[in-house]
Every structure is written in C-alpha cells, then in structure tokens.
Symmetry: C2
Subunit: 339 residues, 2 copies
C-alpha cells in the first residue's frame, strides 16, 4: 500500500531548503532529533564529493549523526556544511564531548556549476537559512534547495540535458512502518517512469525536445560517454521509523539503491557521484529486507517527483515543458505515455 508523501512523514525528520536563484544553486538539510540517529551509507558512484561522510562508514567509531547536508556548488559547496554545524551547535545538537557539542553532519555536493552562475555557490549562510526554514510538513520539490541547479540526461553535456531537481516520496505499510526518501537528481543518465519510458533525459539537439535515449545509444555504440566528468550525481537519503545499527543501515543503503537503478538509465555511471544515506529514527524491529523494498520504492518515487516538479528556468527544458509542448512528438511522444 503505497502513497505519495514526504520524507518528513517519518516522525522526527525535518527538512529545510534554501536556494540562490541568481546562481541557480542551493542547499537542502535533513534534520533529526538533537541526540542524533543511527545511520549508514552506500557509495555506489565513482565521483562523490563529501564532507564528514566518514562517520557513516562501518568501521567509524561515531554511531549517530545529527543532520545530512546536500548542496550544489561541487567541492566549493561543501562550505555549506559549516553553516549546518554552526546552526546545530547553537541548538545544542551534536555529539557531546566535555562541554563541547560537535554535530556530525555527513554532507555531499552535486556539480551544478554549469547551470546558472559558476561563481555563486552555496555557503554557510545559505545553509543556516535552510536549517532555519526546516519543517516536518509538506516539502517544495523540483528546482529548489540542492536541486535548484540539478540536470539530468547528460550524454551530450548540459546543453542537451533536461532539468533534474529535488524529490521526495514516502511509503507506508501496516504496523505504522514509514519509509521516506529524499533525492537530489543530477544524474548522467536519463530518468524513466517505472515502466522504463524516458520522462527526462538527453536530447538529440540543444534546441529541440526530442529525447536521444542515452542507454540505447551507448549500448549500440552510437554514442560514447566522456572519459572523465564530475558533473553528475544522484544523492539519496532514506529515513525509516525502525531501529537499525550502522551496519544494517549501510546494508539497507546498498540494497535500496536498486530503486534508483530502476528509474535512472544508465545508472551509477563512471561519471556519477551517487551515494545513499539511511537514517534510523525508530525503536521497532523490522525485517531489513522489508525496509529495503519499501526504501527502493520510495527512492524511485522521489526521483520521478524530482523531475516532474522541476522548472528549467528557461535554461534547459523540464518534464513539464515536454508534456506541454505541442511540437513534442518526433519519436519522443511514446516516452511520456503512462508517466
């Protein structure tokens, strides 16, 4: 029994986004109760850019995290995490050490310097705004927060890409089990619906709306991926109201990432910095395979939402532009049917 929802449907999760619309970039923070929560990570991509993500590794001694910070601005954008640290410290949220409070804030950046201004990046002040705006209610999705400058379908680079963004989704099941997901979709690959039809992706020309179908072109050898690129990443956060230790959270992060694989094609490319973080906010004991199945479903829903709510700012087309545009149909129409 699935329904559309928000990662904030998981009790204890608050999310705040702040955008720099001049730079077309932003920050999204996921806040949890001040004592922190157990969490794990799966880094599946070949190009992540992170700060304090060490704490999520299985062997790391720290067992609780106090927030997750997702940002644009590539490596520069990781300055935003410093704002989250300051905000949480001022709230007394963090690892207590003597009279000190050290917030544990795994943070990851997407590359959006090729969208909007490359000189304006998220900073600590923008992150503090995101923290201050955090809410446990419905969330704005699409071109907001860390998704502001996100693009998808970059077989031919951003000029022939479409707009990605921030998305969320939640899956509820019997027994008060809720699994919520939040994603920033800046993928190299095209985005499909659950039937495999492309809903946003690489286009055959910079000015047109015809979808190229990156996987088909790469598969057949009709296109080649670039050897090195740092412009792509899907960042994912899963929250569940069940008890998980770090090892199990890491396993579920790996297992639930299949939800991303179902709707991003190609996925985990050599030029994607994908990672999935799992947060545990509950006391109930639940079959981890059940959580992973629900998390995968929440993740794929969140990716589709990220694209469907996205606004291209007139820079690249969005899914909304595709379905609105009457000229759309040069081989592309079938891709949106059913989506």
């Amino acid at each position: 029994m699935a329904h559309e929802g928000f990662i904030t449907d998981v009790p204890g999760v608050r999310v705040g986004s702040a955008s720099n619309l001049d730079g077309k970039t932003g920050v999204t923070v996921v806040l949890v109760p001040s004592q922190g929560v157990s969490a794990g990570i799966h880094k599946g991509g070949s190009a992540p850019s992170t700060r304090q993500a060490d704490s999520l590794e299985p062997l790391h001694i720290v067992e609780r995290v106090h927030a997750v910070c997702l940002c644009g601005g590539s490596a520069f954008g990781l300055d935003a995490a410093g704002g989250v640290l300051r905000y949480l410290e001022s709230q007394g949220a963090g690892f207590r050490y003597g009279n000190m409070t050290i917030p544990i804030v795994p943070s990851a950046a997407i590359f959006d310097l090729n969208f909007g201004s490359s000189a304006l990046r998220p900073d600590a002040e923008l992150a503090i705004k995101a923290c201050e705006s955090a809410s446990d209610g419905p969330l704005q999705q699409g071109s907001v927060g860390a998704g502001t400058g996100a693009t998808v379908g970059k077989l031919y680079g951003v000029d022939q890409a479409m707009k990605g963004g921030l998305g969320t989704y939640a899956v509820k099941s019997s027994g008060d089990l809720t699994v919520g997901a939040l994603v920033v979709v800046n993928a190299y690959g095209d985005i499909t619906d659950i039937s495999g039809n492309i809903i946003a992706g690489a286009r055959t020309s910079p000015s047109g709306l015809e979808l190229a179908d990156a996987a088909r072109l790469l598969h057949s050898g009709m296109a080649e991926s670039r050897k090195i690129s740092v412009e792509n990443t899907t960042l994912a956060v899963v929250a569940v109201n069940a008890r998980l230790d770090k090892i199990m959270a890491c396993r579920i992060a790996a297992q639930s990432t299949v939800g991303l694989a179902r709707v991003i094609r190609p996925f985990h490319s050599h030029v994607d910095g994908d990672l999935t973080i799992v947060l545990s906010l509950g006391d109930q004991t639940v079959d981890p395979n059940r959580i992973s199945l629900m998390a995968a479903e929440a993740l794929q829903g969140a990716v589709i939402n990220a694209v469907k709510y996205a606004d291209g700012f007139g820079i690249v087309p969005s899914w909304k532009d595709l379905i609105k545009n009457s000229n759309f149909g040069h081989g592309g129409e079938k891709h949106v049917r059913g989506s």
Copy 2:
C-alpha cells in the same frame, strides 16, 4: 643513507602553515604543481573527519589532486578547505572543466577543541594565509599550523597528555630518489623513539612529568581506554619524486603507515582518525616496496620531529620540558635515554 630533511625536499612540494595562537589551532597546506599530482589514501583509523578525500579512493574517477589541507578544529575546521579551494581557483590550479577550475583538495581535521579555545577554529581565511605563506624551503615544526593544538598520550585525556605537533622528515637514496613526509601528531598513543622508549605520552598525573606507559597499562588491564572519543588522530602526507598511479599510491599509503606504527603506541586505536595520503610528483619508475620502506622511515622521523619541536604553551608539557626538567626522573628518565 638517511638524513633529516623536509617534505619540501621533494621537488614541486610547497608547504604553508598558519596558526591561530589565541585558539591554539591552525592549518597546514601541502601544495603541488597546478596541474595536480597522482595520489592515494589509506584510512587506518576508526575516526577520520575529512572533506573531498573521496577523490583519493581507488574507484573515484578523479586522478589528480591539487593540494592537501590539514587542519585543527575537528569537523568545524574543515571550513578551512574552502579557503584552499578559493586560493587555488584564483591561481588557476585545479581540474579544468569548461571554463571552470575545480581544485581537488583532500582535507582532514584533527580534534584540538580541548586545547586552547574550543570556540576558535580554523577557517577559510586562515587557510588562505597558509597558502600564501607556502614555501619550498625549510619548515617550522612542532606547535605550528595544524599541529598548533595537537596533543599525544591521551590514555587519561588531554589533562594528562603531552604536546604533539607538526613534523616533517625526508629520506634520500641513490638515483635522486627523495621521499618526504609531513605529519600532524595528535595521537591517542604515546610517542616513542625508534628503540621504543617513550619520548612523549600519557602522564600518571595532571601536574607531574612521570610517564604512565599507556600500552603497558592497557596490555595488563591496569587501564581501560574510553569507549568512544573523537579527540585523536595522526594525519600523514608522503611525497615522492616517482611515478605512481592512484592504486599504487593507495598501496604505498597502507604499507608506509608501518612507520607510524613503530613510534606511536598504541597506534590505530579505536579512537584514532589516522590516515595517510601519498603524493606522486615524479616521472621515474621505482620499485614500490623501496618507496614504502623509505616512506615508513620518513614518517617515523616526522613523528619524532613533531614531538621534539613541540611547545606546550604552558598548557601541557612538551618533550623539551621533559628533558629540561631536573625533577623528571620518577620512573620516567629511562624513557628518554637515547632519544
């Protein structure tokens, strides 16, 4: 044929330190030629705190780094890396992507919030100062840069610890092979000379200079380590004028870390965030096992230098205080003989 030297003896390496003496903290940057160098990492500790260290992982697509940033201030101090990024960007040093320059700067922090002021931490401005002061000449060692607030021998916490710091050492061999090391020694363990005699470590009381011998006490069950702590780390950088790909640089990072193990006791404890980064700055092909042996020697020399040059600021005693103090000898004197 070994001699004392500096990591800057490796052609192309420049090092700059900046200290905040009010906060007793600081930053040290290792700069390399603007096109970047091949590099690898070994994370041996259970509590690292890093930013952009992803790029050094074997599977990460980025193959060259443009600097390494070491800082105090724990997770907060990683803000310093943002200053290094800005400095390098302004110099045109970084990964070129279109018209953008994205410096790859693996960064790691030590916890020194329990020494000096916990509220003053390294920031971007301090890091820019460190970059601007970078030199390829002799380096100041001890309580400077990222070593300013470093302590060692924390079996009983910082109150019974001694002063650690920043150290460097280089080993030259026939055929113009030079391996240099730079370390920030903030270890949980005691520091020994190459014969195993403690030269700085946990003391039996907050006011005295008698060394406790942490390893002996832990081994015998006469002392217990704390279950969780984030206050310890040895950060190490090795540079060599030989060609290494990332995989080999990672292997050498792991192998050469034995040099740290020889002079830090206990080493790689559950509460240390140790990591070793290897930078390759040359074209010559050299047996990697030879490089690792020389790197281990350089690392152990650098650790000993870090401690011998350290100044305790009147907060905790340093090695210099030990050897100067005529009262020193309550079971401790034998530990410094020969060191």
